[in-house]
């Protein structure tokens, strides 16, 4: 499975693509900028009944109801704070609009295919299934995430599939 993914990642990332990087705890992640719709601050959400705690609730974004996920809660990154610096990345993932709370947005970087190395099995907070590979930027390691795959996964519980409550 992982092998296949890595191959896929290698094939798909021809030449350079732009990635939005953000931090989650101590780690830095990158996602394809094409999936990013906008970045906004954190607003009050409306709680959703019986949802896993990382699903903070829903917000109204210009008339559209958008679920908000806190990745820090999803990955058990300890105490999370909501303040004026808290950032929500609004993603457009396979036609769905989803808001993702992260610790901060760092940068937009262009990565060439060969800059993304296959990820070994390692202790990222993220399941390696959703990792396209690892890239090095100014000595920093960026974990490149296949955000579409992650967000449409069962474990996120964002779509009606086999219902799965908190998996963390």
């Amino acid at each position: 499975m992982t092998e296949e993914l890595k191959e896929r990642a290698a094939v798909n990332t021809d030449d350079s693509r732009e990635y939005l990087t953000f931090t989650l705890g101590e780690e830095e992640y990158g996602i394809d900028i094409l999936n990013v719709q906008e970045i906004r601050g954190y607003d009050a959400v409306t709680k959703i009944a019986n949802a896993p705690d990382f699903i903070k609730g829903v917000i109204n974004m210009r008339g559209v109801i958008v679920p908000i996920i806190d990745m820090r809660l999803k990955f058990n990154l300890g105490e999370v704070e909501y303040n004026q610096f808290t950032v929500v990345i609004i993603l457009n993932v396979t036609g769905r609009v989803i808001g993702m709370v992260v610790d901060g947005v760092s940068d937009v970087v262009a990565l060439r295919r060969e800059q993304i190395r296959p990820a070994p099995e390692f202790g990222a907070v993220l399941d390696t299934d959703y990792i396209e590979g690892l890239a090095t930027l100014d000595e920093r390691m960026v974990i490149v995430v296949d955000i579409e795959r992650l967000m449409s996964s069962n474990e996120m519980g964002l779509v009606d599939q086999v219902q799965q409550q908190q998996s963390v």
């Binding site: 009050a44 959400v45 409306t46 709680k47 959703i48 009944a49 019986n50 949802a51 609730g57 829903v58 917000i59 109204n60 210009r62 008339g63 559209v64 109801i65 958008v66 679920p67 769905r96 609009v97 989803i98 519980g157 964002l158 779509v159 009606d160």
Partner: protein, 806 residues
């Protein structure tokens, strides 16, 4: 000039759809004992129009079905045959087949099913089945709208060109003749005088054209075969003075040419037989000169086997009004062709003949646009039919894509995709919300100092509400779209149950949201079937009860306030209180002490109330009724029942006018605000402590009168975590659910308001206990509660057993 015919397909599909619906409703209204000629004509017209379009646009399979359909209808409207119930059945079946064919073509394929052949055969058998006495025919003809001669064949004239058909060998020809001769007495009339050959087959009974074509189909392409019925006798045709004209034709070579695709029609109106004969000969002479035949169809023959002989053609009456201009043009064009019509009296209308050799028409066997296949030929059509569109000329295939359709000049409406309308509705919804947010911000301002802002805001509010209504009205459709299917449903259901049922439709013009119309169809279907099955009694029983044998079902729609009310009423036996109560006990469905009638009637909507047992006349009513109720509630509607023993049952569905807007009550629970649909709310009370009881020390119930209602505590159900206010200090909203009444505990009732319904599923997923979301005036999202699900969820958390405490 090539024209992409596919650009007209969509219009054809749409109009055919309308024709089919019209045909069906007319058929259902048709009284076979006293048929209304107007209706028969209208049904004929619908079939006829479909056939015309299908032929033109190359949907030969539909042309074939409509052809046999039309043939029988034509005989009916001319009163040559008496309508019968079996005919109506066959027509309805043909309509179903056509619809299937239409849908297949819409999807770019072709419907293939043995039903097609079956229904055609059924129709043909019915057409041939009852030859009317000759006297009747003639008596009827003058009364009908179209006093065409009613010549009924007792045989067929077969014309074919053996060379074109590829039957060169004499042996083959003889074998063919033998084959045909098995069907009747065959005369090979003129094989000597040149092609085409003409045979005459005389039969004692009616032989469908297909039978003959089948014989030919063994040896050649039946495209080249023309069939027309032989007149029953020369005398009967001649006796009709209006058509004596064509009597001269049989036997003369003039009319026997294979249809070249078109011909000119020369003879004077009202000419005596001699003149006709003369001009016929003249035509023939000219025809040979020009190298093509003249008559597109044989004289006096009603179209017997359809498309085979129904070639493309046109003609000009040389001496008819308007033809002077044609003549003038012709002479102008080429004066030298005068010899082509010098023979005729007055003949200048003939210009085309001389010009023809430039075109395809010189060769009678060239079919630039083959006529639709008929009969056995349909098989070849079907075999080749996988490539859409079937049949058709080259120009059809050259088109790439489908250009946007141009509305006809007579159209005063436009077709717009629902998507676009929904987008508008969404945008208007946003406008309404934006206004609400502005108004809320402005409420902190001093009204005197900011008079302009407040005036502007109130204008904005009025305009956006008006706009909202106007946009909503685009989605509104008359309920007749769903009502119209019921004549058929009632007819079929009643017939299968051997009951007599009349359907009455009231308020078909009542408009409601298109989305609701679509979703209303299934529940109504269920209710109507149930009414026929379990409401309306068998004819004997009705008679015994002193009622008319024919039961009546009324479908009634009306607007009441902001709601639409749809009733399904029957004049049947009504619901039986005792039986329902017994059933409830048997099924373990809880019922309160001394239940009211209404409450008992609601039992039929309880899940699993009645499933298998269909013995008694009420038991079956429960089948799927819980689903009906659920469906209606999903549309934010509610269902009520009234029933009186011996008088009937009335089921009333109340729905909001649209799916996009909901009348709701906003309620507060801790920090959260929820919307409760008004349709679910019965009343709200402030509970007294003594009304609150616990069951088994756990489940809590609220005593209201004699009833013990389950308490729904949202904090628990939704796991909100916030410390619940004491129930005694709360407000309790009594709500109607699929499982009876329940008591929903909230902290505060805020306001009654209309809300725009938003889907949670667009970007998230279904949330249990919630039917959707809306955006409040301050821009926050509020969830819309689904009380049925809430009760179910609360059973899961606590499990009160409400009726056992009594």
């Amino acid at each position: 000039m090539t024209i992409d015919m596919s650009q007209f397909y969509q219009v054809f599909f749409d109009e055919t759809d309308e024709h089919l619906s019209e045909m069906e409703s007319l058929l259902l209204e048709l009284d076979v004992d006293q048929p209304d000629l107007e209706k028969l004509n209208a049904i004929f017209r619908a079939a006829h129009s479909i056939k015309g379009g299908a032929g033109t646009f190359g949907f030969t399979d539909m042309a074939r079905v409509t052809h046999v359909l039309e043939t029988l209808l034509d005989r009916l409207r001319k009163q040559e045959l008496k309508p019968a119930v079996e005919m109506v059945d066959a027509f309805l079946e043909a309509g179903d087949v056509l619809r299937a064919q239409l849908e297949a073509h819409r999807a770019g394929g072709e419907y293939q099913d043995e039903r097609i052949e079956q229904v055609c055969q059924r129709l043909e058998a019915l057409t041939a089945g009852e030859p009317p006495p000759a006297a009747d025919m003639h008596a009827a003809a003058p009364d009908s709208d179209h006093p065409e001669p009613s010549v009924e064949g007792t045989g067929w004239r077969i014309q074919f060109d053996p060379v074109a058909a590829g039957i060169a060998e004499a042996d083959t020809l003889n074998a063919l003749a033998d084959g045909v001769a098995e069907l009747g007495r065959l005369q090979r009339v003129d094989e000597a005088t040149g092609r085409p050959y003409r045979w005459e087959l005389v039969t004692d009974t009616q032989v469908p054209a297909e039978r003959i074509l089948e014989v030919f189909d063994f040896v050649c392409d039946t495209h080249h075969i023309r069939l027309e019925p032989l007149p029953a006798s020369g005398a009967s045709v001649a006796a009709d003075p209006g058509y004596g004209l064509f009597d001269a034709a049989p036997g003369t070579p003039a009319d026997t040419g294979p249809d070249p695709g078109y011909g000119l029609f020369e003879d004077a109106p009202g000419a005596a037989g001699a003149d006709v004969a003369e001009s016929a000969m003249a035509r023939d002479a000219a025809a040979q000169e020009a190298g093509y035949g003249f008559f597109a169809a044989a004289p006096g023959s009603p179209d017997p086997s359809g498309e085979v002989q129904e070639g493309e053609g046109y003609g000009l009456f040389s001496d008819a009004p308007g033809s002077e201009q044609v003549h003038a043009r012709a002479e102008q064009d080429r004066a030298e062709t005068a010899q082509g019509y010098g023979l005729f009296d007055p003949s200048p209308g003939y210009p085309g003949a001389a010009r023809e050799p430039e075109g395809n028409h010189g060769d009678p066997d060239v079919h630039p646009h083959p006529p639709p296949e008929a009969g056995k030929n349909a098989d070849t059509g079907a075999a080749a039919g996988n490539a859409p569109p079937p049949g058709g000329g080259q120009e059809r295939r050259q088109g790439s894509g489908r250009p946007p359709r141009k509305p006809g000049g007579g159209d005063s409406s436009i077709r717009v995709s629902v998507e676009k309308v929904d987008q508008l509705i969404n945008l208007v919804g946003e406008l309404v919300i934006t206004h609400a947010m502005l108004a809320e911000s402005a409420s902190r301002l001093d009204p005197v100092a900011h008079e302009n802002i407040f005036n502007g805001l109130s204008n904005l509010e009025r305009n956006s509400r008006d706009l909202q209504q106007a946009v909503m009205s685009i989605r509104m459709m008359p309920i007749s779209f769903v009502f119209n299917r019921f004549p058929r449903v009632v007819r079929d259901t009643a017939a299968s149950l051997k009951k007599k049922v009349r359907l009455k439709l009231v308020g078909e013009d009542t408009e409601l949201d298109k989305g609701l119309i679509e979703r209303l169809a299934d529940p109504l279907n269920h209710l109507v079937r149930n009414s026929i099955d379990h409401g309306i009694e068998a004819p004997e029983k009705r008679r015994a009860a002193g009622k008319s044998e024919t039961g009546e079902i009324t479908l009634r729609a009306s607007h009441q306030g902001g709601n639409i009310v749809v009733e399904v009423a029957d004049d049947g036996g009504g619901l039986n209180r005792d039986k329902l109560l017994a059933k409830a006990t048997e099924r373990g469905v809880s019922v309160s002490e001394n239940p009211s009638d209404k409450e008992i009637w609601q039992l039929i909507f309880a899940p699993g109330f009645s499933t298998a047992d269909q013995v008694t006349d009420i038991s079956g009513r429960g089948v799927g009724m819980d689903v009906v109720r659920r469906n209606i509630e999903q549309m934010n509607g509610r269902v009520d029942i009234d029933s009186a023993p011996g008088e009937g049952t009335r089921i009333t569905i109340r729905l909001p006018l649209t799916l996009a807007i909901l009348d709701g009550m906003s309620v507060r629970l801790g920090e959260e605000i929820f919307i409760l649909p008004l349709t679910a709310i019965r009343e709200s009370i402030q509970p007294r402590p003594e009304q609150l009881k616990t069951v088994s020390g756990q489940g809590r119930v609220l005593q209201v009168g004699d009833e013990y209602l389950p308490l729904i505590l949202l904090q628990e159900v939704f796991d909100l975590g916030s410390p619940a206010q004491r129930i005694e200090d709360s407000i309790i909203v009594l709500v109607d659910t699929g499982q009876g009444r329940a008591a929903l505990v909230v902290d505060e009732l805020l306001a009654q308001q209309q809300v725009v319904i938003k889907s949670l599923e667009t970007n998230y997923r279904k949330v249990e206990g919630v039917s959707g979301a809306t955006i409040l005036g301050d821009g926050r999202v509020a969830l819309i509660l689904d009380v049925d699900e809430l009760l179910r969820l609360s059973h899961r958390t606590v499990r009160p057993r409400p009726s056992t405490t009594a």
